[in-house]
């Protein structure tokens, strides 16, 4: 098992198919990142809301 | 009636929450045959909501309903067979005449076969065959009330039955109520007006 690309340029080009491959991996990274971040932020916001409600309650 | 017989409809510890807002809490009451219960309260107090819960159109957040002693979700079939409910909008098809409207309702509910007398009793003798869309607001409400004269249901649940009804009409409704109570039926209704009947009990909803 060895490295298939010998330069960054080669890696980006991927023998002419770079656009497709990198677009797919890029969009996948964005979508999957959003999938993780969204519930985390929602969780944090919910906790913050409960907290501020508690403070107002006092 | 023996005092030991269970009430027709009994509800206890009802509370209802919608969108995280507690509308009412621990509301309770009961009606026996011959009882009439008026739900009163300010606009938005939850009268409509309570009546819809009693009619099993909404599920209470907490609390239970009993029909003739049987817990309600289970006794629903026999309950519905004896319930007449009239909501804010009365369920008439605007394209059908009063007679046709009462006829299709008769197919779904146990009703006496006296549609014309019932319509005449609410003052619509001339309007048997006019499409409801061409009747005035009050006349449409009267058609809906005519159903009550036909139904064999023992419990009536009526949300603001007097809306849009003129003075003479109110007297007609009171007469309807009276004869239903005398024949052992029960009525739960909401209204901002007082009705002229003996023995009305009140259930007041206040904001919690």
């Amino acid at each position: 098992m060895n490295l298939q690309f010998h330069s960054l340029a080669e890696l980006f080009a991927m023998g002419g198919h770079g656009v497709y491959v990198w677009a797919v991996y890029g969009v996948a990274a964005l979508v999957m990142g959003a999938l993780v971040v969204r519930p985390l932020r929602r969780h944090a916001r919910a906790l913050a809301a409960v907290r501020s409600a508690r403070q107002r309650g006092r | 009636m023996l005092p030991s017989s269970p009430p027709l409809l009994a509800f206890c510890a009802l509370s209802f929450e919608r969108n995280d807002r507690l509308l009412f809490e621990r509301v309770e009451g009961a009606v026996h045959g011959g009882d009439i219960l008026q739900v009163v309260g300010a606009n938005g107090a939850g009268k409509t909501t309570l009546l819809r819960i009693l009619a099993t159109l909404l599920t209470p957040t907490q609390g239970e309903l009993r029909w003739c002693g049987g817990l309600l979700p289970r006794a629903r079939a026999s309950y519905l067979a004896e319930l007449a409910f009239l909501g804010h909008v009365p369920g008439l098809k605007p394209g059908l005449s009063p007679r046709e409207n009462l006829r299709w309702l008769a197919g779904l509910f146990a009703q006496r076969d006296a549609i014309e007398e019932a319509l005449a009793a609410v003052g619509l003798a001339k309007w048997f065959d006019t499409p409801c869309a061409q009747l005035s607001a009050g006349m449409q409400r009267r058609v809906a009330l005519a159903r009550l004269a036909l139904t064999r249901a023992r419990l009536w649940i009526l949300d603001e039955p007097l809306t849009a009804i003129d003075r003479a009409g109110v007297a007609v409704v009171e007469q309807l109520f009276r004869s239903h109570l005398q024949s052992g039926g029960a009525i739960i209704f909401s209204s901002h007006q007082a009705v002229d009947l003996p023995g009305v009990k009140y259930l007041a909803l206040t904001e919690s």
Binding site: M14, H43, R51 | R18
Partner: protein, 252 residues
């Protein structure tokens, strides 16, 4: 013995119970899925040999196939959760369902997107009306239907039950829809292009694919749990245990 098993079940099925238990799973799920993803991506992009016919474009497979798998599996998760909610009235099931729908839609989108971009270098077009592709598209519509239906209702309880009915109707229909699309493919004259099946995949390509598939399963579980936990907090924000939880965070 049986009783203890049921206790365990009830604890897990109650929102606060699930919230507490799942908190312990999180680091593991996050760690393993991210690690496997990293390994799989580096392996697939840098080390796996190029395909004899497709060259480097085939590297899309390492995202495309796992995304497709999870998109399909996700629907069953969602439909099962909906059915459980409707039949046994388990609240947690509704939470799972509400979390699974957008997640599944996102993965279906990824599968379609990656397949579509893959199609350009291999088939010369972004899209053909192939049976599998079409059924994937229908799946996307099914997901989006559930997502939108839930958003459309103001009341959460109503939305939950309505979506459950839809999912249940879907459950009955999904196999029919898939089968029919397959039949459609064979009923009409065969299309000029076929999905290249992968019976004789080289192990050097196959191994990173397996890693990625595993990574995606773990990722799915992780994100699902994250969503469920967030949704539980939002729904139970007025419950005592949530207020206590918020208080703990405060004192830190």
């Amino acid at each position: 013995m049986a009783e203890r098993r049921w206790q365990w079940f009830h604890r897990l099925a109650s929102p606060p119970g699930f919230y507490r238990v799942s908190g312990r799973w999180l680091p593991w799920l996050a760690g393993t899925s991210l690690a496997l993803l990293a390994v799989g991506v580096v392996w697939g992009l840098l080390y796996a040999p190029p395909d004899a016919r497709q060259g480097n474009s085939y590297r899309i497979i390492f995202l495309h196939v796992p995304a497709s798998f999870l998109a399909l599996a996700g629907y069953y998760v969602m439909a099962a959760a909906g059915a459980i909610h409707l039949i046994w009235r388990v609240k947690l099931a509704d939470v799972v369902m509400s979390a699974a729908a957008p997640l599944g839609a996102a993965l279906t989108f990824l599968a379609l997107f990656s397949g579509s971009l893959w199609g350009k270098p291999t088939w010369g077009t972004y899209w053909v009306w192939d049976a599998r592709i079409t059924s994937m598209l229908v799946l996307l519509f099914l997901y989006l239907g559930v997502v939108t239906l839930r958003q459309a209702y103001a009341s959460r309880e109503t939305a939950g039950r309505a979506c459950a009915v839809l999912a249940l109707v879907g459950t009955v229909n999904i196999p029919i829809i898939y089968k029919s699309v397959d039949w459609w493919y064979s009923l009409h004259q065969p299309a000029t292009i076929r999905l290249t099946a992968a019976p004789s995949m080289h192990p050097d390509m196959f191994q990173p694919l397996v890693v990625m598939i595993l990574a995606f399963y773990l990722f799915y579980a992780w994100v699902l749990v994250l969503n469920v936990r967030a949704e539980i907090l939002v729904r139970e924000r007025r419950a005592g245990w949530v207020r206590d939880l918020a208080g703990e965070g405060e004192s830190e």
